[in-house]
Subunit: 254 residues, 2 copies
């Protein structure tokens, strides 16, 4: 084992959970996509904590378009696997979070969300009035321009990514998945024919059978520009032929 | 000030940076969307580190479709502000990461990426051969079905979210932004008329003039289901009318 998280766990009274003391950058560097899970279940308290953390994500107008289905039932997990080109890690993982989104949920959600923000003193009455007035106009415009799905997807993927990093920090292995058929995933979670629902991302989690090696990354100069697209971002650690290796050094786990 | 990050910083030899000792769940809970930034610049080393961390994100086939433009130049920042319905935080923030993506970059990137993964021993020759054979077919299919943009957006938002949480952990305040006009953002970063490029998300960062209060979140039972959509996720901390408040208790910063 390359890294022993147990040695760095600490108890947090607030959540009642053991948590690794890895910082966010450490978790980002050590995370690897895992495609083989042990049958060991994930403690319920961890799953609950992740559900809460998922919903802490920011979203456009704070409308929280995500609709998350936490799947632990074996029959549903196997249905998800079949909907994902039969990738075995989906059925193996004891828990999968299906990050779906509601295209029209904002119509019911806008008022209670705004009232809460006002009551909590986060939004002034003037700001809240602006949201009540402007959000519906903007949302209708997105609908008309065919951009609503993209808007909901964006916020939902933010929530999914937060959850993946949080799961890693709680000692789990994860697999963020794009390879599935939307209609079949919807059917698996009991939402066949629900036109309001889209699927954003699947997140399998559990305990890994192995810690895979990193396949590496392109050098920062290939995918990051500075001020204008195509002007390579200057990173003294990465230049010329060494780029691939150098970014890899920082990208892979220790 | 509700939270003093300075008291919990530690020096990390690996990156040469001071890092807070907040765990991922702590960062997720304490993060607030900030809409007012001080003029103080962000140290170059932090910006470089964030660029590296952004590119550690996982992606479909490891194709890394993101094209990130790190904007520090004032003229470009002001152009981004005008492209974002003149939201003042965009021009104020000393640094904005524009998370764009390339729809067709995979054609050039597939071979060097696969060769690297093979050389690093992450992918066996058989697995690499499978990727060389299957990835182009799948990508062409996405193109045909009009799903390529969504696929690229998904991976790009994962990278953006990682960067936002990493920035928070390095003591910065952030604002993830969906409110902008795509063509004008492309023009601002020198990519007007580039049909290969899409814009995923903007991430403003810097030092905050204030720590805003949380507008709250819906209770987990409203946005999270269990095994089937519409079956509320059981969370003993959240039931009935207390739900809104309870999730808020965990969602807001201390």
């Amino acid at each position: 084992m390359l890294y022993d998280p147990a040695s760095r766990y600490k108890w947090r009274q607030e959540t009642g959970l053991m948590e690794t003391q890895m910082s966010v950058p450490e978790v980002i560097r050590r995370r690897r996509t895992v495609r083989g899970f042990k049958p060991d279940p994930v403690p319920e308290e961890i799953v609950r904590e992740l559900a809460r953390l998922a919903t802490c994500a920011p979203s456009s107008w704070n409308l929280q378009p995500w609709r998350i289905v936490v799947v632990t039932d074996e029959a549903v997990r196997l249905a998800l696997q079949r909907a994902s080109y039969n990738q075995k890690q989906v059925g193996e993982a004891p828990v999968t979070f299906v990050f779906a989104f509601s295209l029209g949920g904002w119509r019911q959600d806008l008022e209670p969300m705004t009232a809460q923000a006002e009551r909590l003193g986060a939004w002034s009455p003037e700001y809240a009035a602006g949201v009540r007035r402007n959000a519906p106009t903007q949302q209708e415009l997105l609908d008309k321009r065919g951009l609503m799905r993209e808007f909901c997807l964006r916020d939902t993927v933010v929530a999914a990514t937060q959850t993946a990093l949080a799961a890693e920090s709680l000692g789990l292995a994860t697999c963020l998945m794009s390879g599935w058929q939307e209609q079949r995933i919807k059917a698996a979670i009991g939402a066949a024919g629900d036109d309001d629902l889209g699927i954003g991302l699947l997140l399998d989690m559990g305990y890994s059978v192995e810690l895979p090696r990193s396949p590496g990354r392109f050098p920062v100069s290939h995918t990051v520009s500075w001020n204008r697209l195509g002007v390579p971002f200057p990173d003294p650690r990465q230049s010329g032929a060494e780029g691939l290796e150098n970014n890899l050094e920082t990208a892979r786990h220790d």
